[in-house]
Symmetry: C2
Subunit: 235 residues, 2 copies
């Protein structure tokens, strides 16, 4: 790995635990309005709309729009499905911003701090810039730049998102490592020529409902970012 | 200024002293090859090619390319003008990266550190992302994001550069303040609806050859970033 100069990070699921915070915020905001549902199922249902919404853009059927806008349209779909059409506009807006307030897995802040001593670091997420900025402020991440979908104006796993992120750091694909907890993300990054590191997040979708091992060939496979820092010789 | 949430910074001249470092690096790199010229005049000549190169892109005559590429073409023009056509390719490449190694004015690192406690902060420069990242690493700046020309795919003073930078932070133009040492930059930002702060850099182009006072109406006028932090109530 001597020539790797930059690390790109997937964010939802890899660095932050979206499911716990979305369920908690939905419970707080909607529960206060007398709603009682399975909040984890609500979080999962909202997340399940994520790929179909992006696919509309990746396929070229609709022009690029930021993830905040997709999350908002998806929320309306999910509220309808849970028969919660009475939820008012300000509450929907507030709940949509729950994605800006997700908590990091416990190894992330310290792991990133160690990794950034030796490497350029940036998120390469499908989240928009302001969402990444808010997550960084909320969790104490220090990024060199915010890269990914909004800068590339397309969504992962389209190759342009990985390639434009590497290029923004003046790095060739092989000088850039994608770090993610999802085999599909890493397969696409590897296909674009990047190095890959798999981070196990076995509880991403609830206990035991995340990926424990990469389902595709990767350059590194680690349990968390502290092990990644060890493996990449970051003191 | 109660509603300002984000500060956008011009970089060349406002945060970093391009002339001293470019003259010094040209002297070191070309002087080692037996060249002796007026190094400050060489730096000025290189910088003088900056606006005409960007104007080709702003006018739509040529597609967007990053400032590193424009700097490199401008360097070839200036070397030709100084009758230095014998300078080899690796030296030209190395010298072009002198723009990534500029030193900040002495108030900037501490000023930014204070300002970022209360505000989202980003460069809104015509420099490309990797150039901004290298200057940040070199000078210890901590940015929330790298915004500006490469993200907007156009060059200041085109309004899209200011407006897309504000939008990336989820800010309306009037919630965003452009900070610069150049009246022309601030006039364009104000025209786009942003607040403006003028920072005096009277020695930018050599002793007494920079702007001491704004030549256009601005919201704030300060001597340096420490005074800006005071005026914006940043402890």
């Amino acid at each position: 790995m001597a020539e790797v100069r930059a690390l790109l990070f997937d964010v939802f699921g890899t660095l932050v635990d979206w499911r716990t915070a979305i369920a908690r915020e939905a419970r707080a905001l909607l529960g206060a309005r007398g709603v009682a549902v399975d909040w984890e199922a609500f979080a999962d249902a909202w997340r399940d709309q994520y790929q179909p919404a992006m696919e509309e853009i990746r396929s070229g059927r609709v022009p690029f729009s930021r993830l905040d806008a997709l999350h908002r349209r998806n929320l309306d779909i999910v509220l309808d499905r849970f028969e919660l059409n009475h939820i008012d506009e300000p509450t929907r807006t507030d709940l949509n911003f729950a994605w800006h307030r997700l908590d990091a897995w416990p190894d992330v802040a310290l792991g990133l701090e160690r990794l950034r001593v030796r490497f350029r670091v940036a998120p390469c997420s499908n989240g928009n810039i302001s969402l990444m900025v808010d997550l960084a402020r909320h969790n104490g991440f220090l990024w060199d730049a915010i890269l990914g979908a909004e800068v590339a104006r397309d969504y992962k796993p389209r190759p342009i998102v990985y390639l434009s992120s590497a290029a923004a750091f003046d790095c060739a694909p092989e000088q850039t490592m994608m770090v993610a907890a999802h085999s599909s993300d890493l397969a696409a990054a590897a296909q674009a020529g990047l190095r890959t590191a798999f981070v196990a997040r076995p509880d991403e979708r609830g206990p035991g409902r995340g990926e424990r091992r990469a389902a595709v060939p990767v350059d590194l496979q680690v349990e968390n970012l502290l092990e990644l820092a060890d493996r990449l010789d970051c003191p």
